[in-house]
């Protein structure tokens, strides 16, 4: 009898594409109808809404802006510590230390996001009772907790990207008289940039979609455009969650699907921008024929 394995293997990607298609079609069918400027801006003129001259009360623009700020702030907070830890693990740590740090990373990676949200919430309660009586849940707190959540992704992707580089590359660079510091900063990191960027993109997507952390640490249903690091903010995933829970009529539910579609578009946009920047960087660095082959 012929083994069914090849057929099963062929079935697997089909399943993936099918699920993805069904999801998209469902979202488009339910959400596309609501797509209009008023979904974003309500009845405020778009330019005035974008620049914050007039507040938007019944549009998703503040939530979009909030999610954008949240994602960028999260990556800003997580990138350097994540990369630094990845470099340490790949280049400096002894095997014993590496496995110890790896264990810590695994625990952090396995932490459910609701627990991370609870951690942030407890932290603020603690701060209010001790050093900072005025502290409150805010954009900064959300971004801080989210960056803890995405840190393991950035660490492991940059560590793996560095470890995957051919040993010859290091030896070559050392043989040219470079010190360990310059070998890492000028040769290895640029060479591993694709892997590091892939980790960042994953982290970005994770930060954009997470709801559990932000609902305990600063996201609210009506805050307007994000006003500052220490203020509450709106975010798309929270808007979806809120609408799904509290909708009064079918129109409001449809707006929830509109928000879901919007979040998907925003994520795709962010990921494409990241890819674009990465490509441009590679082209500049490697000479123009290699960049085409790099992907």
């Amino acid at each position: 009898m012929k083994s069914p394995l090849p057929w099963l293997l062929r079935l697997a990607p089909l399943l993936l594409v099918a699920v993805c298609a069904v999801l998209l079609i469902f979202l488009l069918q339910r959400g596309l109808g609501t797509f209009s400027l008023s979904l974003l801006f309500g009845d405020v003129p778009p330019l005035q809404a974008i620049f914050g001259q007039r507040p938007v009360w019944d549009g998703l623009w503040p939530a979009c802006a909030g999610t954008l700020c949240l994602v960028l702030l999260t990556l800003t907070l997580a990138f350097l510590p994540g990369l630094g830890c990845g470099i340490y693990l790949a280049e400096y740590a002894s095997p014993g230390k590496a496995s110890f740090i790896g264990l810590a990373m695994d625990i952090l990676a396995g932490t459910p996001s609701i627990v991370m949200g609870l951690f942030g919430f407890t932290l603020i309660v603690f701060l209010r009772q001790t050093f900072l009586p005025n502290a409150n849940t805010s954009l900064l707190l959300s971004a801080g907790c989210l960056s803890l959540l995405v840190l393991p992704v950035i660490v492991s992707s940059s560590c793996e990207a560095l470890r995957a580089l051919p040993r010859d590359l290091r030896i070559t660079a050392f043989a040219l008289g470079m010190t360990k510091k310059t070998v890492i900063s000028k040769i290895l990191i640029p060479q591993a940039s694709q892997g590091i960027a892939a980790g960042l993109i994953l982290a970005l997507a994770r930060a954009a979609e997470d709801t559990a952390v932000i609902m305990l640490t600063g996201a609210v249903a009506n805050a307007g455009l994000p006003a500052g690091l220490f203020d509450k903010f709106e975010a798309l995933p929270f808007a979806i969650y809120y609408t799904a829970g509290e909708y009064q009529n079918t129109e409001e539910l449809a707006r929830g699907f509109g928000a879901a579609l919007l979040l998907l578009l925003l994520s795709v946009l962010l990921v494409l921008t990241a890819h674009f920047l990465e490509r441009r960087y590679l082209r500049q660095r490697q000479g123009f024929h290699a960049a085409g082959r790099a992907r």
């Binding site: 043989a175 040219l176 310059t182 490697q286 123009f288």
Partner: protein
């Protein structure tokens, strides 16, 4: 005879594995000194001891002295008791140019392959870097072929061209000594011949230590020939060099089961 390399009582071990055992070796300040031996005889390790590159590969223990002429007469490159500390590793490696068995161009453009080390290691200005790129590519006979495409990826070059680029990159750093680890092993006959021609030319200006697995090549290039076996030096020819057949039989003699190509 003025010496560029002097190795005395030198032993080297990776962890518990002894790779080099009480080696004595010297190389004159002009001409090509060729190291031959079957694989595992320690010739590449000896070569890498001359720029302390073994230390990037793992825990290394060494004993004995290695002295090189890096422009100021023979000087120790490994720390010795009761002696001033040797130059920093990066400086030693910069002054001892190395070319490897497989052409290891950096995954950058042709120009950047030479420019990046110059910028990082020598901290030169862009104008001077430009001149040196041209000078070194001319030196290895690659300028005509690549002048119009310096900004394209070096990985698109042929094997022979890549190896020339590696040589140019090493020369650009103005080395005092050149180390070559089977530089033609991965090339076709035609490319190998032209690299050999180039090496003969360079041998008149630089002290070169070359590892070869090919007795005929060793004959063509050597001004001094050293045979290694099991981490020791077993034969050394300075004046009357043996022919390829003799080298072959020498290698067989020490390793009856091994056949050399």
């Amino acid at each position: 005879m003025q010496l560029a390399v002097l190795v005395e009582n030198f032993s080297l071990a990776f962890g518990e594995d002894i790779i080099l055992n009480d080696v004595h070796f010297s190389a004159p300040s002009k001409g090509i000194s060729v190291l031959v031996g079957r694989s595992g005889s320690g010739k590449t390790t000896l070569l890498r001891s001359l720029n302390r590159l073994n230390e990037t590969l793992g825990q290394v223990k060494t004993r004995g002295r290695v002295r090189l002429d890096l422009g100021q007469g023979l000087e120790d490159i490994y720390p010795q008791d009761n002696a001033p500390a040797p130059r920093p590793l990066s400086e030693i490696r910069r002054l001892v140019g190395m070319v490897f068995q497989t052409p290891n161009v950096l995954p950058l453009s042709i120009a950047q392959n030479i420019a990046l080390p110059l910028r990082i290691v020598r901290k030169l200005q862009p104008e001077e870097i430009k001149q040196r790129i041209r000078h070194c590519l001319c030196q290895v006979g690659l300028w005509e072929e690549t002048a119009h495409r310096l900004e394209t990826s070096a990985e698109n070059l042929s094997g022979g061209q890549k190896q020339r680029l590696c040589l140019a990159r090493a020369l650009a750093l103005e080395p005092a000594i050149l180390l070559l680890d089977e530089p033609t092993a991965s090339l076709d006959v035609h490319a190998a011949t032209s690299i050999e021609e180039l090496l003969k030319e360079l041998g008149e200006r630089y002290p070169i230590v070359l590892v070869s697995h090919n007795p005929r090549q060793a004959c063509r290039l050597a001004s001094q020939l050293t045979v290694m076996e099991a981490g020791r030096i077993v034969n050394n020819f300075c004046h009357e060099l043996p022919d390829a057949q003799t080298i072959k039989s020498l290698l067989k003699e020490h390793s009856p089961s091994e056949t050399m190509s």
